[in-house]
Amino acid sequence: MDSRVYVIGRDSVPQYFRLEAGEALSLTLAVPPGVSCRYCLEVDLEGPGASLDLAGLYLCPGAEQVDLRILVRHSVGGCTSRQLFKGIVGGTASASFDGLIYVAPDAQKTEAFQENHALLLSDTARAESRPQLEIYADDVQCSHGATTGYLNPEELFYLRSRGIPEAEARHLQMQAFLAPVARRLGDALADEIHASLP
């Protein structure tokens, strides 16, 4: 499997991937604090058996403007795509996620999943999600999910009642929230991301 990790605002990040029959791509994106961006990614699954495993995290604790637009196009049947995005938005930042899964006519046996979860930390932060499905074939399994919420106060209480200071407890909560994506970044980058949490 082709595994790639990109930090937006630091690396030069491809905006287009084309997967032929049997190709598998694992792609992980990170938007660190302090980066404002509009990033568009397009992935074409053009051969049967191609698979895409895409994950991303975005941290916007200050005044960032982050706009992620993801288009995954299933042109032929028998392909799989998975997407998982996690975002933390605080300060006066605004983050928007726009993800479209397109399944062409006759792209049967497609499996496509997408998730986007955002946490809001402040009154002035904004988060917007537009997960979209456009499906023209019937024998498919497609789903998307999106949530917007905040750090669970009960979890925080649990940690604090065990003697963990509030700031540290909040960091733990955020790390746990980001973990499914952060673990794909490699130790050095994951540590850097954890250290930058608000």
């Binding site: 006759d106 932060a125 917007e128 499906i135 498919v140 399994q141 789903s143 917007t148």
Partner: protein, 483 residues
Amino acid sequence: MEEIIKDLASAQEYKEGFVTEVDQEYVPKGLNEEIIRLISAKKGEPDWLLEFRLGAFRRWQQMTPPFWGHLRLPRIDFQDIIYWAAPKRAEDRPDEIDPALMETFDKLGIPLREREVLAGVKPKGEVAVDAVFDSVSVTTTFRKTLAEKGIIFCSFSEAVREHPDLVRKYLASVVPAGDNYYAALNSAVFSDGSFCYIPKGVKCPMDLSSYFRINASGTGQFERTLIIADEGSSVSYMEGCTAPMRDENQLHAAVVEIIVEKDADVKYSTVQNWYPGDAQGRGGILNLVTKRGICKGSGAHLSWTQVETGSAVTWKYPSTILKGDYSSSEFYSVAMTNNYQQADTGTKMIHLGRGTRSRVVSKGISAGHSENSYRGLVQMGPAADGARNYSQCDSLLIGSRCGAHTFPVIRSRNPRAIVEHEATTSRISEDQLFYCTQRGIASEDAVALIVGGYAREVLSRLPMEFAVEAQKLLSVSLEGAVG
């Protein structure tokens, strides 16, 4: 599977497709200020309402039709529509209904004659009906029973005459005249519709119901419904629609406004069965509707339930503005499309008040060559502390030539609000079909059974009378979907 689920070639039966021969009165074709003045004059409206219409018309002329829907809309020639058609009434017997009209409503199964209803069941099963035929309301039943409780339920024109203050206070307070292209058009030319006012603390003793029917050729229907539930009151309101079969597209652009005051409870149910066009996609109603309610006071509750099986094109987003603290709203929808029907429907939940709650359950079913989209917005305002939304949108595809789409938007500006959205797309699995057929259930019945189960969460929310009708409609619409 391929043999079982075929494309829908065979025409489904649209049993409401008949035309009634009644003497009709029309205004000339076309749309300009003169026509609007003529409509207003025919209805004997006060000046302020004429001004409202003209104001809306002038705004409409500046507007362009919305293009963002996932729809292929035929070009609508607004000058080629008759904006007002009414069954002629014999002057000497104003209270009696034309027998031909009566027959129409009988065919539709609407109990217009109070005695029929009274003969059958106890007061609990009663339904007060306001029937709108083309542009006018022909009759409203159970007026007296309702009036005793102080409930006003009448046609819109009558409300303008008899309760002008109420109409003036609330008209366009939820859907402003310039809200969108079709709402502006409706505000300019609206013909009739239902008006309903439930006074403080009154629980409406029966379901209120409106039936809309397009009969005349070349006309459009532009009805306006205004429902006001004052503090602590409650009402269940139902709406049904049908139209004859014609090769032309007919326009239906309605506006529904609902005002829910403190602690009031409104349940609004629709079974929409306009003529969907034939199997080749010719004709059918263009259903371009604006429906919106506001939960004004704290603890107000508004529930939308809709079953959409008809219309060539549906463009409809019943929405709720949750302004009052701790107010709540629900949206339950089943949208079924077949042949070349297109539906772009969903809801908007605008959370403004503290602790507001909303729940969205949308079930789309597409078959044949149809396109079925869910489009929705959930917005959490800065003051919506502790607000919560849960949305679930499922799509079911029957056949490989149809499309099912989901376009939700989630906007949050509040770090103490929670929004959850999930959507799935699937088809009737071979395992489910096999399970049914090996138990001796014919494959067509099996599909109806599975679809019924799939839609049950929504259908069970409908009032009794409508639930039966909706279930029937779903199975009729599915006819021929399996071979």
